[in-house]
Point group: C2
Chain length 201, copies 2
DNA sequence: TAGCTTACTACACGTCTGTGTAGCGGAAAG
DNA sequence: CTTTCCGCTACACAGACGTGTAGTAAGCTA
């Protein structure tokens, strides 16, 4: 289907797919080479090592995503994600979780955008740093937990329709408070009690 | 520190720790055995295989968590988590993401509790199934993305104080709407456009 | 034509992994 | 005392992994 690409590009694409699917350690050089229909030696020839390949994938995914539009680091919009972009996101997040510096940089940028976004709202937030981090992490989780989501929804979230259901749900989630003021106050009290007890010890 | 336990228990504890930290595939039998200060053969003697060990850990973690209190599947309370329970949660979620049936069962139970919780609220939700799944996944993400969270907050989230900051932030997040009605309407429109275009194709 | 670089393959090496086997020592049962 | 079981160790095995090396064919430059 994509065999009109350079071998190098085919390797890169196959790597991103397999890395995203099985994790960095889970995908072997040989599997990637086979998926790209080349010898494992060629992979090594082009990228030097597995880490070299991973770096190249990181860089490429990041540049592709920023090229298409900064929206992947944007904070509140989750719409307009083609399966392709979805894959790139999923790869980058996976790579991030497996300790990629490029991914960490992306995460930092997400946090930065998060703070900018937070400044435009009038939300009451006790700890902006923690708040932004939590929102960022939760946003990413929609990509990380893809398998579990698909299982719960009964169909692959890569399916645009299923993806749409997920977006709809996040919209419902973010447009109204999930817990009442009383519940929040109660939880806050419990939290205070916790930190108080900890200081005492 | 915990050397007054049975060797079997020490192996189990070490396995849960290393599995949670490095993933199922990432933690080797030899590493686990060394951490438990036993030979790798003993591990095999007690648990039969690596998958046997993982099953035992799954079962034990699940039973411990349900014994301590069902709150790990409960929907809205994230407080009162000791580092120990935190670890068990983190392990079980990791195991789930790596394809454990026990973990999948736990996830299903989370969804079930989620539906029960949703019924007690008066939230406006278009797609309860998707909604509950999204909330469950996002809740779990606080455990999965532990490293990233720690990085963003500048200190390990296992630290009770840091963990408290995170809980505080989730509380802020869940007790107020993140986006305005206009923004929500706008996003909904974009979503409708998306699904309309997809039906047309 | 000759020389050199580049895309590409085949194959071997050392290491690490999960697993299998043989055996040791102590405690309990006869 | 002997037998038997159980906790436990040491060691060997096959396979998979990332990596290294040698070599082939094609295209470019002079």
């Amino acid at each position: 289907m994509s065999s009109d690409l350079t071998a190098r590009a085919r390797i890169r694409d196959a790597a991103i797919l397999l890395f995203a699917e099985r994790g960095i350690d889970g995908a072997t050089i040989r599997d990637i080479a086979q998926a790209a229909d080349v010898s494992s030696g060629l992979l090594r020839h082009h990228f030097g090592s597995k880490e070299g390949l991973r770096d190249a994938c990181d860089e490429w995914a990041l540049s592709e995503l920023t090229k298409i539009g900064g929206q992947f680091t944007e904070f509140n919009t989750l719409d307009g994600l083609t399966p392709r972009i979805q894959l790139l996101q999923r790869y980058l997040i996976r790579s991030t979780m497996d300790g990629s510096p490029t991914g960490a940089a992306m995460f930092d940028r997400m946090l930065e955008y998060g703070h900018q976004w937070l400044a435009t709202t009038d939300l009451k937030v006790a700890d902006p740093e923690a708040f932004v981090a939590v929102v960022a992490v939760m946003k990413m989780s929609l990509f990380t937990m893809r398998d579990l989501m698909s299982r719960a929804l009964g169909s692959d979230v890569t399916e645009p329709a299923t993806w749409g259901r997920m977006l709809q749900a996040t919209l419902d989630l973010f447009s109204q408070p999930l817990i009442t003021e009383e519940q929040a106050a109660q939880a806050r009290a419990a939290l205070d009690r916790l930190s108080a007890g900890e200081e005492a010890s």
